[in-house]
């Protein structure tokens, strides 16, 4: 029989500490939807997505009610569209994005990821067309998310793609200027992208994935923070143990939800992504965990070490609790989605350079960074190159989701709304990277990529 303190602990985690399942993401392969005629390909895509995912939202809500655990998002990821669209004779891929948007609306999911291309070593014709379509695709659709992988440890960095993405981000921001460049919040540039990540905006259904799969992203920064409050002043050994135990408990819930969703939808379970994903709500912040460890304000010296401990302990605890772990798995450090990070920017303890250092030891990179609208495309590209280099050399995923907010300058405020939150505009280096970016070509893969 369960003990009352155990029941109360779970109850408290959900009710007070905002423990939730962040997303149930259904991955759907669209590889059999290719067709020489784009219209037929899109019809096949729409039919397949709406057929496979028709019960996704309903089953998610059912599990939420039965187990009393909030499941915030139900989402879909699909095969990178460049691979599907390139069999067609279409030149313009925006129509493919519209189809994804319509399918997402039909089944009631709030985001669909996979308007994507993997170009870490070079472009196919389809990749070129997809990249060209990204700004308009993000402008005319509401729920479509886009991602581009520009580097891997094995292949090096495609600097032509990096340079293009600087321009693409600028253009996306300009097209969506009415909503403060919101389109850029739905575009992630990756190095070493995972193919089973359930979190948006970077989710897509990788080419080695099965026909259809259920991946679950957990969360729970509030729960970890609350657990650390009970060990104030204790050593790092105790700190790491406490994070591990909490991560274990959180992940067990994720595993239960994933198993149930998989059974009820009759779709195989893929992975649990053990990420601490913050939300703008007070008490759901990764920055506050770092501060709980003894850092006065996130970004102060010690922050990188604190984040490294957190990220590693989350993985160690979570891995034991799930049969399959994948995706990004670690701590997320978005700015606009984390109330503690926002405050740290405002107080001046945190800046883009410190965030870059933090991205060396956590699961993602520069995430949801609002910068001045007049930031040059080459500077954005150079920021991407820096993050890609960190990922490439350290054998880890890094990502950049940066928003050059039109007509805003440092000190202004931008409101994205909902889970995307709000943010002050961060300052970016004024020194030029133009000559570096215009070189073009590829940065070779590092020596340690030659492991065979």
């Amino acid at each position: 029989m369960l003990q009352s303190y155990e029941v109360l602990e779970t109850f408290r985690m959900i009710e007070k500490e905002k423990l939730d399942i962040r997303t149930i993401t259904m991955g759907i392969s669209l590889r059999d939807c290719c067709h020489g005629n784009g219209e037929i390909a899109r019809k096949k895509m729409y039919d397949k997505i709406t057929r496979y995912a028709k019960d996704l939202v309903q089953v998610g809500e059912q599990i939420e009610r039965e187990y009393g655990i909030p499941i915030i998002n139900k989402r879909i990821s699909v095969t990178p569209i460049s691979m599907i669209a390139e069999s067609s004779e279409d030149e313009d891929y925006v129509a493919f994005a519209r189809t994804l948007d319509e399918a997402a609306k039909e089944v009631g999911v709030n985001f669909i990821g996979g308007f994507s291309a993997l170009v870490h070593k070079g472009f196919t014709n389809g990749d070129h067309r997809l990249l060209k379509a990204i700004p308009e695709a993000l402008f005319v659709t509401e729920r479509v998310c886009s991602s581009v992988n520009v580097a891997t440890t094995k292949a090096g960095i495609n600097m032509d793609a990096v340079a293009q993405l600087g321009e693409i981000i600028k253009k996306t921001a300009e097209l969506t200027a009415d909503s403060d460049g919101l389109g850029c919040a739905k575009l992630v540039v990756f190095a070493n992208v995972p193919e089973d990540n359930p979190f948006m905006a970077g989710a897509f259904h990788g080419i080695g994935e099965p026909e259809c799969v259920i991946n679950v992203g957990i969360s729970g920064p509030g729960t970890v923070k609350a657990a650390l409050e009970t060990v104030r002043g204790e050593s790092f050994d105790v700190l790491a143990e406490t994070v591990k135990k909490t991560a274990f408990k959180i992940t067990r819930v994720g595993q239960l939800v994933a198993r149930e969703a998989s059974r009820r939808l009759n779709v195989p379970f893929g992975i649990i992504d053990l990420s601490l994903a913050p939300t703008p709500a007070v008490g759901d912040s990764v920055a506050r965990i770092i501060e709980e460890m003894g850092i006065a304000s996130c970004g102060a010296p010690g922050t990188t070490a604190a984040l490294a401990l957190l990220n590693d302990a989350v993985k160690k605890g979570g891995t034991m609790a799930s049969s399959h772990v994948g995706g990004l798995s670690g701590a997320f450090i978005p700015i606009s989605e984390d109330e503690g990070m926002i405050e740290a920017i405002q107080t001046g303890s945190l800046n883009i350079e410190k965030l870059e250092a933090m991205s060396c030891v956590c699961s993602v990179g520069l995430d949801m960074i609002a910068v001045p609208g007049d930031t040059p495309a080459e500077t954005l590209a150079a920021i991407i190159a820096d993050e890609a280099a960190i990922g490439m050399i350290n054998n880890k995923t890094t990502a950049v989701r940066i928003i050059p907010v039109p007509n805003k300058i440092v000190g202004d405020w931008v409101e994205f709304g909902g889970l995307l939150g709000s943010s002050p505009i961060l300052s970016v280096s004024k020194f030029s990277s133009v000559d570096f970016i215009k070189r073009g070509g590829r940065i070779p893969a590092p020596i340690h990529s030659l492991r065979n």
């Binding site: 369960l2 009352s4 109360l8 602990e9 779970t10 039965e66 408990k249 819930v253």
Partner: protein
């Protein structure tokens, strides 16, 4: 299925009686019950068997929520597996 019902709120007379009545009317069988007062808050947990209930789980949840509102306490019903998965290996 078995579920755990958690009742938390200001202590007053008749909480157990009224929650039990709702459960009895739905043919939900109480398997275990424990109750304590934590910092003046009434905290009760019940393990119930819902194998033979007459209502759907959603309907039972609605009637418990309604009863909770009239008692001024919060009543939640959750599948026991969420607690077991977290605390039992």
């Amino acid at each position: 299925m078995k579920a755990i019902i958690t009742v938390i709120g200001q202590d007053r007379t008749g909480i157990i009686a009224r929650v039990s009545t709702v459960l009895a009317e739905a043919d939900a069988n109480i398997l275990d019950i424990s109750q304590t007062i934590l910092q003046e808050y009434f905290t009760m947990m019940m393990l119930v068997d819902l194998a033979d209930i007459k209502l759907s789980l959603d309907e039972l949840r609605d009637s418990l929520t309604l009863e909770g509102e009239s008692l001024g306490v919060s009543i939640k019903i959750q599948h026991e597996d969420i607690f077991k998965s977290m605390h039992r290996i």
